[in-house]
Amino acid sequence: MQYSPEGMMPFGPVHPSLKEPEYFKLFLEGEKIVAVEPRVGYVHRGIERAAQERTWVKNIYLFERICGICSFHHSLSYTEGVEALAPFEIPKRAKYLRELVAELERIHSHLLWLGLLGHWAGFDTLFMWIWKDRDHILDLEEAISGNRVNKSYTTLGASGTTSPTVSPTRSARKWTT
């Protein structure tokens, strides 16, 4: 990428229209952008390298913190990956419980983005309605695992065994009213 344009305009890495820091070198010819050179990685956390320095079990909790929305799916993918390497079958009950929490997380994730769609479109009432319903899903997750976001509900060869502190049916009833 060798350009000899008339001018270069820096964009970022901190800009009100950007959610996270990114830097774009914009090459201009007159008022036309003819090329872009992106730079990212300002908030890169080096998780892949960090995982190489940790133990198999510690990594479950590291990978859970990749994302605050889909935390369970990252730790689940990691444990399933390790289990594919190890020659053992996990119990059926653990598979069911993992499926349950993964589905709850999928539902709350879809509701989160649907609410945000309303927010970005300027329809904040929709945002609040949807997030009210999403909160009941988080209540269910808390009832099952004891936590709303970082659930730590999977481990190598098994799933979490925390007994519910709140009746899931009560939480579900709250949702329907």
């Binding site: 990428m1 992106p38 730079r39 990685g41 080096g46 892949e48 390298r49 320095e53």
Partner: protein
Amino acid sequence: MSSEELAPLASRLGGTINAGPKTTVLSVPPDRVVEACTGVSSLPGWYHLSTITGMDLGQDIAILYHFWQGRRFVQVRTQIPKSAPRLASISGALTAGTLYEAEIQDLLGVAFEGNPFLGKKLLLPDVYPPDAPPPLRKEADPHRIKKMMELE
């Protein structure tokens, strides 16, 4: 994808096929990677290059091109020696590969000839010491690199 569908491609490129429950791995020599990737992506339904990853194996670096069709993965796998970490870029044939290759160039120090990011940084900071090994290589010691960058 069944390994039968990949067999003609593998025999043409001198590669081998290893079929797992979810993933079929097509290992090819480094000079046939572009042909292998364009060959897989031109099969019906296999247009999606999901990501490219790299692994430090000690003496060699393995580069894996992950294709996803909705139910199964095909990995095009190749191995290059660490002493000469160079590989042809697939960015001309598959544009999606451009940024993935740039990431591997930063983190594992593999030069992808033909990639517009060749010799440029995407992820690494400007102050990353030029004499330090790329951060995902086994010989890279995070504490030593932090000291070189005067962060510790």
